[in-house]
């Protein structure tokens, strides 16, 4: 009865190829240190190669065979031996209409996985490039640093692809542990070590709570396999004759699971680690964590909520009454909405008070996590679509901002806003590019940040309206209120983004104020090029966001998590519950014919294959 599990492991391995490249890279890097001549050389180039190869392979997979063929034909390479090799690499086409499971249902392989994988590898490549231009880490530590970076990315890809609660936990831990070490990588700096320790303690606590939630869920429903779990969970919320069932264990379990993700997302009130860690860690690491870690956590949240919410409840043709997932959605939307609204508002308000640029950006990332969660609150494909676009936009603008901070730190030996007064007179390129990134974060058109924010707001309004039409006034109102909150937040965020620009551009230069001799800092060509290219990308993507939005839309179009027959089973089982009265909702809700899974099958799915 398991939906479309692959017959053999070979397919899974092929689909897993980019990650295997990464694993190979890590192992090689660790071994290379044993070889004398590589012991002290900088491994940035090597890890960059690994990252690019992984990115390349995942791009090939994303294109699939037909797409690839047309590309190759366009450059007239299709018939050559190179072309044939490439084509054979792409033998595992992306699932056109449905997803397939990797490794016996542990991981899911669909367009969403591919999208996130490409996104994360782009981040990886960009971060490695950044570290190579800023000089952190030095040659001696480079092997450790890049191993951790690659390992963390691997964990994040797994987070985005998890299809099983056990895998969710493993992936989160696999992403977290390297992050802890990376945060404390600036050895000898007290702040850095403090940041790492804080991160570990908070992270450990959150992981424990999450594991508790996972075990409660798995124990209650006898499975950790998400598609099955979602059916049972949704059925548990279907109102019976005696009203809506109230099960504290269930609510605690889902809440605990959410807390684990909220910690990774730095959603308020689980954000306390974020400003400290970002302040203590190197700007490069902070940039990586703020972009990649957030992308993975949001992907996981999207995965879980869309599993639980079934698929888009706002389909074209189904009458409202037959939507089996609506009852759980009624709980989920307000919960997420409260999280999102508080996160965005708090992040924006707190950022205004910061004097350290990295801390300010840390609160800004918290606020942006809030915006992206707003998109997910709709629990529709529209919302996930908007979130995916936002992630891409956010990658360029936020990483760009952190890159500028890193370069400025190299120039001025400071990350304090007060030392950046009148900086435009000394490092014009850095300040102008930083302004572009900050304005994009603020959402000023025609920069990509606006296109992203527009889509989030559009999703909120559109789906709010459609929920109204379904008769779900509560959900609809929630989403419209959330839209207003988002609008107000945009204005709030203008205060601190403009403050940074005011300090750097409008204020007199710091030397004049402190009576020192004015100097013009040299702007390294690498730094100018890096931030310049990102800034141009932010502008170009803000004008021509059509193709990107087509891609993200196509990604969620294929975001069919629960196959049709499962849905019909759910309807049937819900009918059973109603017919059978109030006898133990959880048990009765399990689809018929699934009794064999119920006992202990859940966690053993991998072995069964």
């Amino acid at each position: 009865m398991l939906p479309s599990i692959d017959p053999g492991i070979t397919n899974s391995l092929l689909e897993f190829l980019p990650e295997l490249v990464l694993v190979l890279g890590i192992v090689l890097m660790l071994l290379l240190r044993l070889v004398g001549s590589f012991n002290r050389s900088h491994l940035g180039g090597f890890s960059l190669t690994i990252g690019v190869i992984a990115l390349f392979v995942s791009l090939l997979q994303a294109l699939g065979e037909p797409g690839l063929k047309s590309v190759l034909e366009a450059v007239s390479l299709a018939e050559s031996s190179v072309g044939k090799t490439i084509l054979s690499l792409a033998q595992t086409p992306p699932p056109a209409q449905s997803q397939s499971m990797m490794f016996g249902g542990m991981l899911i392989y669909d367009q969403f996985t591919i999208f996130l994988r490409i996104l994360l590898y782009v981040i990886l490549v960009l971060v490695i490039l950044l570290t190579m231009t800023t000089g952190i880490p030095d040659a001696e530590d480079s092997a450790d640093f890049y191993c951790l970076l690659l390992g963390g990315t691997l964990g994040m890809v797994l987070m985005a692809a998890s299809a099983h609660l056990l895998m969710v936990f493993l992936a989160i831990e696999m992403a977290s542990l390297p992050s802890y070490a990376l945060a404390g990588f600036l050895k000898g700096r007290r702040q850095s070590s403090e940041a790492a320790l804080k991160y570990v303690v908070y992270g450990g606590g959150a992981a424990g709570i999450m594991l508790y939630g996972i075990s409660l869920l798995a124990g209650k429903f006898g499975t950790g396999y998400l598609p099955e779990l979602s059916i049972s969970l949704a059925a548990a919320f279907v109102p019976s004759a005696e009203g809506i069932p109230f099960d504290p264990i269930l609510i605690l379990a889902t809440l605990f699971l959410l807390i684990g993700i909220a910690f990774k997302l730095a959603a308020v009130p689980f954000h306390f680690w974020c400003p400290d860690v970002f302040e203590g860690a190197a700007a490069e690491v902070a940039g990586f964590l703020s972009v990649a870690s957030k992308a993975a956590a949001l992907a996981l949240l999207a995965r879980l909520t869309m599993f639980v919410g079934g698929l888009d409840p706002l389909t074209l043709t189904e009458p409202a009454k037959e939507l089996p997932y609506l009852s759980i959605i009624r709980y989920l939307v307000p919960t997420l909405a409260v999280f999102a609204a508080i996160t965005a508002t708090f992040g924006n308000l707190a950022a205004y008070l910061q004097t350290n640029l990295k801390r300010l950006l840390a609160y800004s990332t918290i606020a942006h996590a809030g915006y992206m969660m707003m998109a997910l609150c709709t629990l529709t494909r529209n919302g996930v679509d908007a979130m995916l676009f936002y992630l891409v936009a956010y990658l360029f603008m936020n990483l760009g901002a952190f890159a500028v901070v890193a370069y400025l730190r190299n120039q001025t030996r400071s990350e304090d806003l007060a030392d950046f007064r009148g900086l435009v007179r000394r490092s014009p390129i850095m300040v102008v590019t930083l302004s572009v990134f900050l304005l994009s974060l603020l959402g000023i058109p025609p920069l990509v940040g606006f296109a992203a924010k527009f889509q989030v707001f559009a999703a909120l309004f559109n789906d709010g309206q459609r929920y109204f039409e379904l008769g779900e006034k509560g959900i609809g109102t929630t989403l419209l209120v959330l839209l207003l909150v988002g609008g107000v937040n945009t204005v709030l965020s203008a205060f601190y983004y403009l403050k940074v620009m005011k300090v750097m551009i409008l204020d007199p230069r710091v030397e004049d104020l402190e009576g020192q001799e004015a100097q013009r800092y040299p702007e390294p060509i690498g730094a100018s090029l890096y931030t310049g290219v990102l800034a141009v990308l932010v502008l170009l993507l803000g004008i021509l966001w059509g193709p990107l939005v087509t891609w993200s839309q196509r990604t969620v179009d294929r975001f069919r998590v629960t196959p049709g027959k499962d849905r019909s089973m759910l309807v049937a089982s819900a009918a059973d519950v109603e017919a059978g009265g109030a006898g133990g909702v959880g048990r009765a809700a399990l689809p018929k014919g699934k009794g064999n899974v119920k006992g202990k099958g859940g966690f053993d799915k991998g072995k069964k294959q």
Partner: protein, 656 residues
């Protein structure tokens, strides 16, 4: 390829291209940068004049001199867009009209956003005003080095200035709401930096205040934009658009539609497809439908703007006319009834056609635009911004940016939410009158020369609001169209005089280095020519007959007299009297100012040089326009009036 698309694109983006060109200049060539930017604004001015000539000959004059209602309809954006879309659907490039001055190019398909530009009598005067004032302001910017505290940011100044021009022009020619919004926001940032870097002592405060006020307004506009977009417009676009959208739905959501065969799916898609659009023309059509529907007790028969239904009605009428077989007639009538039923069900269920939606969105738009106008109580950013901004930026701010608010109300708020506009007409007009009176009193109390001019702007823009707001019944539609035309004329007149006044204040500030009215005196003696130029501009601003300020004000006051919301004639008469009496206040503060600045003798200023030739170059065009537009208003009204009156026509004639 459509030539008008190219021309309008050039108009908008030539300044940006010149801004990019500035990057190639070496750092030291500051004068060359200024000349280059001046060339950029001059080229843009040239393009706008070329467009004007072609529009006048190609669109306006073709309709003949009679200016009948049919002529006005034929030259309206509505008709021209319909003709263009028709031609585009048929795909024959020969039928593409090269000079209909509307052009569309798809931009982002996912959200149906078009790069949709167009020009009519409402936008064109303001485009010309913008290009002229930008040119003159750039001419006045050659001494900008003086303002930037030794930083030598000439390149930055010129780039921001040209970017600002692109934003302003784009806002005026955009006919896609999303595009409009993009350009609207593009203006925000250059203005922030232009005030913040080159401004006076409190420049940072003024700049951030301007930014936050406008951003808040933008958020309101953004919410209205989303709300309009997600309203179903399928009844107000042509069949072909509906069919195209249905096809797209089958492509993307095919497996969720009922039916097996492609045809079945297509039919099902046509049933459920929603047409969402940012097209301001379509949205305005839906707005009229809402007006007709809500204004006639939710009666579907009153709606006369849905193309499909109108076509069916015409078909039935034609069949009856031709005495066709009873079968055919009854079949056609059945089709009509079905279409009407569909329309009715959507009118009943769509949010767009509810009073609450119309009122909320009208208020959102009104607040968003009123901040820019600025209308009391959202005006407090204006005096600060004006006082701190450098002279050329003050010229642009008063001359063009304030007009964008008025333009937004005329182009977007009124056509899309006319029902709410009528419902709230008395209140909007009251705000306009309050603006007039309040601005005049506030101006009288100022001692800072620039603040005085700033508050006089508040007062004068009040006439614009009043002129727009004096909604009238179909019988009295002439009165309202006077008001609307007066509002437009007032915008142009005020653009000329306020930019002139700010420039003249700048001239004197360059010499005296202060703006305190009580410390001037006797300037006429050393600077007779300057005094003469000032007198003309200030009298024009005062609304002296024979000057451009007079025409707009008098048209607005006349139309306000006829304004009778809910049949209460006294309201309109009160408003008219108040607005007319304020002219006395205006005369008072302007004459008093002239007296304080120019009369008497003042030994301290004895050796001031008179206005230079360079400065005269900036001022003389404005002086000439102030007089010519006052003496011979048809020069503008001839080609502006049909579009404005058409807008009024479409809005007043809604009751069955």
């Amino acid at each position: 390829m459509e030539t008008d698309l190219i021309w309008m694109t050039l108009l908008v983006f030539v300044p940006s291209v010149f801004a990019l060109g500035l990057l190639l200049f070496p750092r030291k060539w500051e004068d060359a940068m200024c000349w280059w930017s001046l060339l950029g604004t001059a080229v843009t001015l040239g393009i706008s004049i070329a467009i004007f000539i072609n529009y006048k000959s190609g669109v306006v004059d073709r309709q003949g001199p009679n200016n009948t209602r049919a002529d006005r309809v034929a030259m309206s954006l509505d008709a021209r867009t319909a003709a263009m879309d028709e031609a585009a659907q048929e795909g024959s490039s020969a039928q593409f009209k090269q000079n209909d001055w509307v052009a569309r190019y798809p931009w982002i398909a996912r959200f149906n956003i078009d790069y949709f530009l167009g020009i009519d009598g409402i936008s064109l005067p303001l485009v010309l005003l913008t290009t002229l004032l930008s040119f003159l302001a750039m001419l006045a910017s050659f001494h900008i080095k003086r303002y930037d505290k030794g930083d030598r940011f000439v390149r930055g100044y010129c780039m921001l200035f040209l970017l600002l021009e692109t934003g302003m022009l784009g806002t005026f020619v955009a006919l896609d709401f999303f595009l409009f919004y993009i350009f609207w926001e593009v203006m925000l940032l250059p203005m922030y930096f232009l005030i913040g870097i080159w401004g006076g002592p409190r420049r940072e405060y003024a700049a951030i205040k301007f930014f936050l006020y406008t951003l808040l307004g933008s958020v309101f506009i953004l919410i209205a934009l989303l709300a309009f977009y997600f309203s179903n417009m399928r009844d107000f676009v042509s069949d072909k658009v509906v069919a195209a959208r249905a096809n797209r739905l089958v492509e993307t959501e095919g497996d969720r539609l009922p039916g097996q065969q492609p045809q079945e799916k297509l039919a099902a898609a046509k049933e459920v497809v929603r047409v969402n659009t940012f097209d301001l023309i379509v949205l305005a059509r839906a707005g009229r439908a809402a007006l007709q529907y809500l204004g006639n007790d939710r009666n579907v028969d009153a709606v006369t703007v849905a193309p499909a239904v109108e076509e069916a009605k015409a078909k039935v009428a034609a069949l009856k006319e031709a005495n066709a077989a009873a079968d055919d007639i009854s079949r056609a009538e059945k089709e009509l009834a079905a279409l009407k039923a569909g329309l009715n069900s959507r009118l009943e269920s769509e949010w767009f056609f509810t009073p609450a939606f119309q009122l909320t969105m009208f208020l959102f738009l009104l607040i968003g635009f009123a901040i820019k106008v600025p209308v009391f109580p959202f005006h407090t950013w204006l005096p600060d911004a004006h006082v701190e901004a450098p002279t050329p930026i003050s010229m642009i701010l008063a001359g063009v940016l304030l007009k964008l608010g008025g333009y937004g109300i005329i182009r977007i708020a009124y056509p899309i939410c006319p029902w709410a506009a009528e419902y709230l007409a008395a209140w909007v007009a009251a705000f306009g009158v309050f603006n007039i009176v309040y601005g005049a009193f506030a101006a009288m109390a100022q001692t800072d020369f620039k603040k005085l001019v700033a508050y006089s702007s508040v007062s004068h823009m009040g006439y614009v609001i009043l002129g727009i707001a004096v909604w009238n019944s179909a019988a009295n539609s002439d009165a309202w169209s006077w008001g609307m035309n007066g509002a437009m004329y007032q915008m142009i007149g005020h653009g000329i005089t306020s930019a002139g006044m700010f420039f003249l204040v700048g001239v004197i500030y360059d010499r005296a280095h202060h703006r305190n009215l009580d410390n001037f005196r006797g300037l006429f003696e050393p600077m007779p020519l300057y005094g003469g130029v000032s007198a003309i501009i200030f009298f024009a601003a005062m609304g002296l007959p024979g000057m451009c300020g007079f025409i707009g004000e008098v048209m607005v006051v006349f139309s306000a007299w006829k304004f009778a919301p809910g049949g209460h004639q006294w309201i309109g008469i009160t408003f008219a009297i108040l607005a007319a009496l304020t002219v006395v206040l205006t005369a008072a503060y302007i004459l008093w100012t002239l007296q304080r600045v120019f009369m008497g003798t003042n030994p301290a200023y004895k050796n001031y040089p008179d206005i230079t030739v360079w400065e005269l170059c900036c001022a003389i065009p404005l002086v000439i326009l102030a007089v010519v537009l006052g003496v011979f208003p048809p020069l503008v009204l001839n080609w502006m009036e049909p579009s404005v009156t058409h807008l009024v026509d479409t809005l007043v004639s809604f009751r069955m």
